[in-house]
Amino acid sequence: MSAENLVLFFIVGVFLVASGIAVAYLIAPRSTNRQKHEPYECGIPTEGPTWIQFRVGYYLFAIIYLVFDVETVFLYPWGVVMRSIGLRAFIEILIFFVILGLGLFYAWKKGALKWV
């Protein structure tokens, strides 16, 4: 099968979830009261808004991740041709890795990898 048939798997995935929810919608009981539709917080009413500014640590890691993930994507085509090109590919990627390693080292020394 060719790559276009991935659409089939997408459709089957949608079908699985949709049919599950549809069946549950048909046979599950329904009842309502005010407390039921509150967010769960150990039985007491929730205090203040939930959608607030979140701690910046997660954001920092996401930014560093972005740098290294693009690099990983870049490395895959190199990995495929590494064997056939040989020494030249090795030296070039060595230079690339040194630059990357410096980047990681800089982030490390700057304290960006520390959970504050």
Binding site: M1, S2, A3, N5, L6, L8, F9, F10, V12, G13, V14, F15, L16, V17, A18, G20, I21, V23, A24, Y25, I27, A28, P29, R30, S31, K36, H37, P39, Y40, E41, C42, T46, T50, W51, F54, G57, Y58, F61, A62, Y65, F68, D69, T72, V73, Y76, G79, V80, V81, M82, R83, S84, L87, A89, I93, L94, F97, L104, W108, L113, W115
Partner: protein, 362 residues
């Protein structure tokens, strides 16, 4: 010598030919697509149910208990009973939640795992779609699942969910790097991203043996990183029961909760099957040099048995992790990835590139 036995491509070719003989080509394609869809749907559901059962049995084994044993023989029907019960449970919604995103999240999580399973080679000739960028595709698609977790946690408008989702996001994207880099080592070795090609390159020995110590290090890093990427213990911060009640799926009930649960177990199967395909030779039998008689006996075991035996062994190891190690704190988790695994992985990749350049691998 006996390349032909247990080859699934003959079966599929036979079905294809008989369908084409019976009806017009367009309808034959439609019927084939429906068959493939149904087979994968059934496989997906049964696999999820079985893995939940296996998890409970392994947990019981580790804790010196019996585990589920009432419903059906050895409790085999326990998870089916659980599924039926979850189906009949009310779908509670949250008044102040973002309803559209709240309902969208299970779809994303399930679709991501379902599309990843399309590219996995289960046995000789039994692979739905053999992409030429197979492994790259699987890495890309499985990482979409975390978006579903983030959306679900955020849209719930519950503090536990939000914290769980944020942790999950930070954790999965961090360990994504190690997964990518450790799988890259096999791509360097075999010089291809196509999964069937990678398996063919292991015909004279699995990469974990052929690749010397660096390949083994890459395998270990992959196991740790994959365990973290599927949010399983000891890296299950996203749903840490003892502090976040249930993490990102606190507000989900009934079948929607079941879908998150199902996707989590299928993801475990996916990472285990990737480890099998990349490092342990996929569906290839175990061969030892110069042991001709041993190798012939091994050849008679069907390839699908080899694949599932290796995969379930990896799954067992991942379950073993969960019931052995205590949960990490988030700062320990990020330190492990960024200060140990990532530098180690970068150095390991260079060593592997060097080995391949010198031709030192077998």
């Amino acid at each position: 010598m006996n390349d032909h036995i247990y080859d699934f491509s003959q079966l599929t070719r036979h079905i294809d030919e008989s369908l084409r003989a019976a009806m017009s080509p367009t309808w034959a394609v439609v019927v084939e697509l429906v068959i493939i869809g149904l087979v994968f749907l059934t496989f997906y559901a049964l696999l999820g149910l079985f893995l939940v059962y296996a998890e409970r049995k392994v947990c019981a084994l580790m804790q010196n208990r019996i585990g589920p044993n009432r419903v059906g023989k050895w409790g085999l029907l326990q998870t089916i009973a659980d599924l039926l019960k979850l189906l009949t449970k009310e779908l509670v919604y949250i008044e102040r939640a973002d309803k559209f995103l709240f309902n969208l999240a299970p779809f994303i999580v399930i679709i991501a795992s379902f599309m990843a399973i399309a590219a996995i080679p289960f046995a000789k000739g039994l692979q739905a779609i053999d992409l030429n960028i197979g492994i790259f595709y699987i890495i890309a698609v499985t990482s979409v699942g975390v978006i579903g977790i983030l959306i679900g946690g955020w849209a719930s408008n519950s503090k536990y969910s939000l914290i769980g989702a944020m942790r999950s996001g930070a954790q999965v994207i961090s360990y994504e790097l190690s997964v990518g880099l450790s799988l890259l080592s096999v791509v360097i070795f075999s010089g291809s991203m196509q999964l069937s090609e990678i398996i063919r390159s292991q015909a004279d020995g699995w990469w974990i043996f052929k690749g010397h110590i660096p390949a083994f290090i890459a395998f270990l890093i992959y196991l740790v990183a994959a365990t973290a990427e599927i949010n399983r213990g000891p890296f299950d911060l996203a749903e840490a029961e003892s502090e976040l009640t249930a993490g990102f799926h606190t507000e989900y009930s009934g079948i929607k909760f079941a879908f998150f649960f199902l996707a989590e177990y299928i993801n475990m199967f996916i990472v285990a099957s990737i480890a099998t395909t990349m490092f342990l030779g996929g569906w290839l039998p175990l061969h030892i040099d110069h042991w001709a008689a041993f190798n012939r006996v091994m050849d008679y075991i069907p390839s699908i048995v080899w694949f599932f035996a290796k995969t379930f062994f990896i799954i067992y190891v991942i379950m073993w992790f969960k019931w052995t190690f205590p949960r990490l704190r988030i700062d320990q988790l990020l330190t492990l990835e960024w200060k140990y695994l990532l530098p180690l992985n970068l150095i390991n990749t260079i060593v592997i590139a060097f080995i391949v350049m010198m031709g030192w691998h077998f």
